[in-house]
């Protein structure tokens, strides 16, 4: 069974540009979460989807971040326009009925 996959694995963009991160959860997992780890700091929750609906987006830092999960399958996280402080590793996780969270490998975003 395929795990959670994220694309791209790395992205380097200039300040002011737009970047879109993608997450494919484990098939059949209704819950999808986005997290972010800024260099050396804790892993912070961004938002939670149940199927295509946003259950909790209390962790989204500002309106430059837009997450979608059309059709309740894969999810995208768009940062527009990107700022230097957006650099970090963005993780996606999905959970099924057991509640155990399966994480992707993360996308390392560098804004220069």
């Amino acid at each position: 069974e395929a795990g959670v996959t994220q694309f791209p694995s790395h992205s380097v963009i200039e300040k002011g540009q737009t970047v879109t991160l993608r997450c494919d959860p484990i098939s059949g997992h209704d819950n999808l979460y986005w997290y972010r780890r800024v260099m050396g700091k804790e892993i912070k929750f961004l938002l939670h989807f149940v199927k295509e609906s946003k259950q909790d987006e209390s962790g989204m830092p500002n309106n430059r971040f837009l997450a979608e999960r059309t059709g309740g399958t894969y999810s995208t996280l768009k940062v527009q326009p990107a700022e230097l402080e957006d650099s970090g590793v963005y993780f996606c996780a999905s959970t099924g009925w057991t509640g155990e969270a399966f994480f992707g490998q993360g996308t390392r975003l560098t804004v220069v």
Binding site: V4, Y33, I43, F45, A93, G99
Partner: protein, 113 residues
Amino acid sequence: SQQGEEDPQALSIQEGENATMNCSYKTSINNLQWYRQNSGRGLVHLILIRSNEREKHSGRLRVTLDTSKKSSSLLITASRAADTASYFCATRLSMDSSYKLIFGSGTRLLVRP
């Protein structure tokens, strides 16, 4: 304020020794989980302990939970060089319908061969 905080921030031990990492949290939890992150890779789930449990074992891992002190510890016995990684505790809050995980900043473990 930070829900989960690990202690120590960094730990260096010799292969074969035991490694102990601690985690403290602030609010009532449903469960507490430990994850490992190898450099440049994703988070790997190690073990989950529920709020009504006090101790769990999985291979060389032993986790304890003291809800009265709001703390947990992860013990890795007979460490190996391959155990070198960052270890995070994460809590699932009792009153959070989102069931999101709240992570700490992690402990960096270095196991010297």
